[in-house]
Amino acid sequence: MSGITRRQAIGAASAAAGAVVVGVSAAHASAAPRATRPAEPASFDEVYLGRRIQGGPAGGHGGHHADHGGGYSVRVDGDELHIMRNADGTWISVINHYDPQATPRALARAAVDDLQGAALVPLVPATR
């Protein structure tokens, strides 16, 4: 993984701004429920603590790791957050890997809480 960031950190001051929802995209992902899992959750697009967080079906906005088997992707200020769905339908990310969240939106918000304004480092595929 590279140590280079793509932009300056936004700054912790923005964390004080609070969550402002600027828009919610057409919800209700169209993916059909799979036999052993709950349906894909709805898409979302909002500003949380000054950061834009988006979620939706992988590929819908350029997600590139559907090869990991994930049908859903999450972005923070446009950078992809590596996420994973657990067998029970909960979600984790590379930022909060040991603390499952109920929804991708909760996962994205937890990542923003942890980042305290820092930028995600772009994903680099596993070396194996």
Binding site: T5, G69, A87, V94, H97, Y98, L115, A119, R128
Partner: protein, 275 residues
């Protein structure tokens, strides 16, 4: 012979040698290769496909092998060093000696989570976070910050009492000892400790915090204690399981070690007190 000790019992000299060996591995780049390996497996181990390091039966033998490899790297720097273990049921507050400036340093400051004392503080010795998921290059912690409590001895005992090693579907939804120790189900032991430490320990790049090794050395010791309580309970699954490492299948990334090879730790190390 390597003897793994309770971190609370280390002498000042043992702490100093351990910290210096960590810093040496950091300087020569070997430390970060361990962080990269762990993060690669964290990101690729999945409940519905191939899984080796986590959320699977091989969670315990995989980490045992990973720790042995790391301990051998430490010993290449200083042959007297062994991995200590952190019994988080006993040393369960940020006031524990584990977090003193002469050992791992304390919790992060409120503003940005930055650890500011001890050898791993960014301002000190060059413990720069290179393998990372965000732009920050300083070690972060928030000990107990999320409001969670470390597991209790009674909770550990409730998991050690489980007689079956692991069970279908051999992932984060499983019943049995492995998944309850790992923490995806039930009272939650291993996962919860990562969350309690916070900062880097809560991420896929958790070995960036040296406490990773002390945490996993204790998880590894709990596996030994479980084996002692249930001598007739084997590693499972035995054979023929898709996406999962069976008893005699090799584990990535080494390719030459199986769970069966890892069942007896005494070839590699013993403990300061009987497990």
């Amino acid at each position: 012979m390597t003897v793994r000790k309770n971190q609370a019992q280390l002498t000042a000299d043992e702490k100093r040698r351990f910290v210096n060996a960590l810093l040496a591995l950091k300087r020569d780049g070997r430390y970060d290769s361990f962080v990269s390996t762990h993060n690669d497996f964290i990101m690729s181990d999945r409940d519905d496909s191939d899984r080796v390091g986590h959320r699977s039966p091989s969670f315990l033998p995989w980490h045992r092998r990973f720790l042995i490899q790391f301990e051998q790297a430490l010993q290449s720097v200083d042959a007297s060093v062994a991995l200590p273990y952190w019994d988080w049921t006993a040393d369960r507050t940020p006031a524990a000696s584990l977090w003193a400036p002469d050992f791992l340093g304390g919790t992060g400051r409120p503003r940005d989570g930055q650890v500011t004392d001890g050898a791993f503080a960014f301002s000190g010795s060059g413990w720069r976070i290179n393998v990372r998921v965000d732009g920050r290059d300083f070690l972060r912690r928030s000990l107990g910050g999320g409001g969670v409590q470390l597991p209790t001895k009674a909770e550990v005992d409730s998991v050690l009492a489980m007689p079956v090693y692991d069970a279908p579907p051999w992932n984060s939804a499983s019943d049995g000892f492995r998944n309850h120790l790992e923490g995806w189900r039930g009272v939650n032991l291993h996962n919860r400790v990562h969350v309690w430490v916070g900062g880097h320990m809560a991420t896929g790049a958790s070995p960036n915090d040296p406490v990773f090794w002390l945490h996993h050395a204790y998880v590894d010791r709990l596996w030994t204690q479980w084996q002692a309580r249930h001598p007739n309970s084997p590693y499972l699954p035995a054979a023929g399981t898709r996406d999962v490492v069976d008893l005699r299948e090799t584990m990535r990334p080494w390719g030459n070690v199986t769970p069966a090879d890892m069942l007896d730790h005494t070839r590699y190390y013993t403990y300061d007190v009987a497990a």
